[in-house]
Amino acid sequence: MKVREVLGRSDYALISELVPQGSQVLDLGCGDGALLAFLQATKGVEARGIELQPELVQAAVARGVPVYQGDVESSLSEYPDKAFDYVILSQTVQETRRPLHILTQMLRIGSHAIIAFPNFGHWRVRFAHLVSGRAPRTRLFPYAWHDSPNIHFLTVLDFEELVRAQGWSMERRFFLSGHKQVSGLPNLRAEIAVYMLTK
């Protein structure tokens, strides 16, 4: 698989290649609906989104994406089992209070879960931490400790350990550095990790 850039995001490029034509897709924390609108246009998916920020919800609805304005953590229980083919959580898991709860719900309401997250094990993060002796700030973690939306700092190893412990199966996994895919030493070299899971 060749990694390209879609809407300025390499994880979007991967996700859109993973989602088949005409499937039912729910995007958690869908923002202004950019990914869903792209999937509607290119893959004819039946798209749904959840987003908390009112301005982003309005932007998504204005571009024709059906969005539910609400908090992802408390809004998944309403959906019936296997309501969607794919449930996407793109670079949001590190901002949620209860990641395990969300991942469990994703695999209940969807046949497949696609999760992309910034890898805190990347060498630049480790290096920044080691050298500065401060909470690391890199291109992926640009925030000062007090205004970062990130409240969980997970690595490729951490995530895979959780997946194994829960007994979920990893259908696909991809590691990205910039807009390039990396294969060896992902926990050191991947800036973004993308997983497709199923139960």
Partner: protein, 370 residues
């Protein structure tokens, strides 16, 4: 744009109460142009005291009640859509209601008018829509009681609606909503001019109706919008009057709105329409709201406002969550506004973007045959 209210007649309508109304008239206005496939029609459903004059300017120079949302380039873009709005059954602005002449007696119905429901209003609208040769509406939409009708349309005529857009609405009237309606009705009934509703030959119960409207107006605003609009400002004076004439700006405003209302609204219509709202409960006869909404096949766009305490967001969420539970196509936006329940009429900026995007998607999908 000068708009013209038109009237159509229907021989009869069977009501939920079991009674039948004969010789009905429906007043409506139409804007824009119906396309060849007759697939671009939107039905606007007015709130409690609204009327068919939703947009443009009428012969008396009065601007329509949703003119800021309806017209070329606006939320309901008449360049693209054919938009209809009819006065509701039981109203007093051209559609048959208690002030109309009872064909059986030759006198105004008054309190002999049968009690009506939101379902009855919607069935009469459906007769109008059908008479205009429209088999499927692109959307039905309205705020407050208009939203109740939009919901009723979705479940009563599932094949005739592509999208339902209830705004600042509820699937069932709450105790608080019923309570305020009852205060209004009691104010009217307590007016000596009311005479059991048989006042058409003499003076209308103007004081009672004005008090009812004053209470209503308070419920349509928010604490914040009232603080901003009036605060504790005095009306035309520097000091208290130490009497019971108008001291405060807010008193003057409410008195003005109350007296203005008497000129355009019939007290009996007030009683009948509030009763129809009180009876509204989409779950009636069903084990749950979700079960009731299973009849619907259209897309939904549900909008609520943060400062609306008369139709609070939790009531919209009840609808949205029942629909999400069936994985139904539903969009939900809670808009930030200080205007309280009135927001759907005045705070149109954000509504416009949402509605335009949603309607464009609906039309795209309908044209694609979905």
């Amino acid at each position: 744009m000068i708009t013209e209210t038109q009237t159509v007649r229907f021989p009869e309508l069977s009501l939920d109460s079991g009674e039948t109304l004969r010789g009905l008239e429906v007043a409506y206005e139409a804007y824009g142009k119906l396309n060849e496939r007759r697939s671009n029609a939107i039905l606007i459903l007015h709130a409690f005291t609204g009327d068919a004059h939703a947009a443009g300017v009428d012969h008396e120079g009065k601007t329509g009640w949703w003119d800021n949302m309806l017209g070329p380039g606006k939320a309901f873009d008449t360049e693209h859509y054919y938009v209809l709005c009819a006065n509701v059954l039981g109203g007093c602005r051209g559609t048959t209601g208690p002030a109309s002449t009872n064909p059986a007696t030759g006198k105004p119905y008054g309190m002999s008018f049968p009690v009506i429901t939101i379902g009855d209003m919607v069935r009469l609208q459906q007769m109008l829509v059908e008479s205009l040769g429209i088999r499927r509406l692109l959307a039905v939409t309205g705020g407050s009681m208009g939203g109740m009708q939009a919901l009723e349309w979705a479940v009563s005529f599932p094949d005739a609606v592509c999208a339902s857009i209830p705004i600042a609405a509820t699937a069932r009237s709450s105790a608080q909503q019923i309570a305020f309606n009852e205060v209004g009705r009691q104010a009217i009934a307590a007016d000596p001019d009311f005479r059991g509703g048989d006042y058409y030959a003499g003076n209308p119960p103007a004081r009672g109706l004005a008090v009812a409207r004053m209470v209503g107006h308070i419920t349509y605003m928010s604490d914040e919008s009232m603080r901003e609009k009036f605060g504790r400002r005095l009306r035309g004076r520097e000091e208290f009057s130490f009497g019971f004439d108008v001291d405060f700006e807010v008193e003057s405003y409410l008195r003005y709105r109350g007296s203005q209302f008497v000129g355009r609204f019939d007290a009996n219509s007030y009683l009948y329409i509030t009763k129809a709202m009180d009876y509204f409960d989409l779950t009636a006869g069903y084990p749950s709201l979700a079960a009731s909404l299973e009849r619907a096949r259209c897309r939904f766009l549900v909008i609520s406002f943060t400062s609306d305490w008369l139709y609070p967001s939790y009531q919209s969420l009840e609808i949205v969550n029942a629909l999400r539970g069936r994985n139904h196509d539903v969009t939900y936006c809670e808009l930030t506004s200080n205007y309280g329940h009135d927001a759907f009429l005045v705070d149109v900026g954000e509504q416009t973007g949402i509605l335009r995007g949603f309607l464009a998607r609906c039309q795209r999908e309908v044209e694609a045959g979905q």
